[in-house]
Symmetry: C2
Subunit: 234 residues, 2 copies
C-alpha cells in the first residue's frame, strides 16, 4: 500500500489487490476554514468511516452509482479509483453557511427548491463558488456532464433527506464530489459524513455536524457518535 | 418633475406628461468599487446619454423590448416606468474583472460560450453573485422569468457584439438590468454605457471603458468620447 494522497480528513493508498481500486483511511483530524482551524478526537476516523459506510451502502441500495466497494476495517474502505472532477458539489435544502452569510440572513429558512452549487477545488483560490454557466464557459466540464451531476446530486439529496429523516435528523445541506472511473462512468466519490453535511436534530435544531467545531459549540465528538448510533439503529 | 431616485450615475424623475413614464438624467459622476472611488468629467452625462441612446435605439430596431422611449435633450431621456428586478445581469464573452480574479487567471481568455450571471442588488451586502439555481431557491424570481431574462441577455449580447465589432470594439462583458412595466411585460431597463461594459479596442486591446478609471489608466474621458464617436459614425 503506497500513499497517493493525504487530505484534511483522510489518506488514499494504492490497493495491492487491484490497480483500479484505492484504500481510503479516515483520519482523526477535523479541520475548518480551509484548514486554518484544526482539531481532532480519538475515534473520529472510526465514527466518520462508519457513518460514510452506512450512507454509501444505502445510496448503492437505491441505485446510485458510487465508488464504494467495501469496508475493510474500522477506519478503512476499498473504493474504485476515480479521476475526480475539480468541483465540489453542494446541495442545499435550508439556508445556512456561506449562502446565509452572503444574503445577510439568518440560518434555517427552507429554500423554495433544493439548490445545487459548484465550488472550484482550489485551496489557494479559496474554493470559489461557480454557477453552472461559469463551469461551462470556463470549460471545466461539458454540458452533458454538468446535467448528469446536477441530476445525480438532486436524486442523492432526495434519498438522503428521507434517510436522515428516519433518524430524526434534518439534512440542511451537504457537499459531495464526483469522478470518472476507468470505464468513463461518472460515479459519486469521496465520502459523506458530518464533516461534509449540516445535520440538525429534527426537534431541537441542535447542530449534529462540523458546525459544532466551526462555531466552538463543543461536543462535536458526542454529536458525531450520536449520528452514527441513530443511523446504525435504522 | 419630482426626483424619485438618485443613483451613482443618474437621477430618475417623474414625468409630468405621464404617470407610466420616467425622465432619466445622466450625471457627470463616475464611481467604482461600490462607490468607494469617486470621480467625474464635465461632459460625462452627455457622452453616456449619447452612447446609451444609440445602443437602445439599435436594440429596439432589432426587436429587443426596452424601456427606452426618446431622448429629450443632451443628458435626459424619457423611458417607461419599470418595477426593477433586484438583480444585475452580467454577460461575459471574455474572462475579465471579478471572474478572472476569483479564478486567479489573466484577463482576456475567450470563454467557451457566453456566460450569463446574476448579482443580487444590495450595496450593504456588496452585490453578491448568485447562480440561477440560487435565484430560484431564494424565491427572488420564478423559473419562467429567469429563463426569459437569460434568453434576452444572450440575444442582447449577440446583437451588441456585432454592433460594437462594426465600431472596432471588442465587447468583453456588460451589465444590464430588467424590470416589469405596468402591463407585466419584462423589458430591458437601466442604461448601457462604458460605465457598465468592458470594451477593448479590437486592435490594441486598449481599455475604452470604466476600467480606465478603476485601474487609474488615465484618459477615461477621451475613451468614452471615442466610443461615442465610433458609434455615431456607424
Amino acid at each position: 500500500m503506497n500513499l497517493i494522497y493525504e487530505g484534511k480528513g483522510k489518506k488514499v493508498f494504492t490497493d495491492p489487490a487491484s490497480p483500479d481500486c484505492r484504500i481510503v483511511e479516515f483520519k482523526n483530524d477535523l479541520t475548518a476554514f480551509n484548514a486554518q482551524k484544526k482539531g481532532s478526537f480519538p475515534d473520529k476516523g472510526e465514527v466518520s468511516c462508519g457513518i460514510s459506510h452506512l450512507i454509501f451502502q444505502f445510496l448503492e441500495s437505491k441505485g446510485v452509482q458510487t465508488h464504494w466497494i467495501e469496508k475493510i476495517n474500522a477506519t478503512q474502505v476499498r473504493v474504485q479509483a476515480l479521476k475526480m472532477f475539480p468541483l465540489e458539489v453542494v446541495v442545499r435544502n435550508r439556508l445556512a453557511g456561506s449562502l446565509a452569510k452572503k444574503m445577510g440572513r439568518e440560518e434555517g429558512e427552507i429554500l423554495k427548491q433544493p439548490c445545487v452549487e459548484f465550488y472550484y477545488k482550489s485551496d489557494s483560490l479559496g474554493d470559489p463558488f461557480l454557477s453552472s454557466e461559469q463551469v461551462l464557459a470556463l470549460g471545466l466540464l461539458d454540458s452533458a456532464t454538468v446535467s448528469q451531476i446536477q441530476g445525480a446530486a438532486l436524486k442523492i439529496n432526495s434519498l438522503l433527506k428521507q434517510y436522515f429523516q428516519r433518524a430524526h435528523l434534518d439534512l440542511v445541506d451537504f457537499k459531495i464530489e464526483f469522478g470518472e472511473n476507468a470505464h468513463k462512468e461518472i460515479l459519486l466519490g469521496d465520502d459523506i459524513s458530518p464533516d461534509s453535511c449540516r445535520l440538525w436534530d429534527e426537534k431541537t435544531q441542535e447542530r449534529m455536524d462540523k458546525d459544532r467545531f466551526r462555531k466552538d459549540l463543543g461536543g462535536v465528538d458526542k454529536a458525531y457518535r450520536e449520528v452514527l448510533k441513530r443511523l446504525e439503529s435504522l
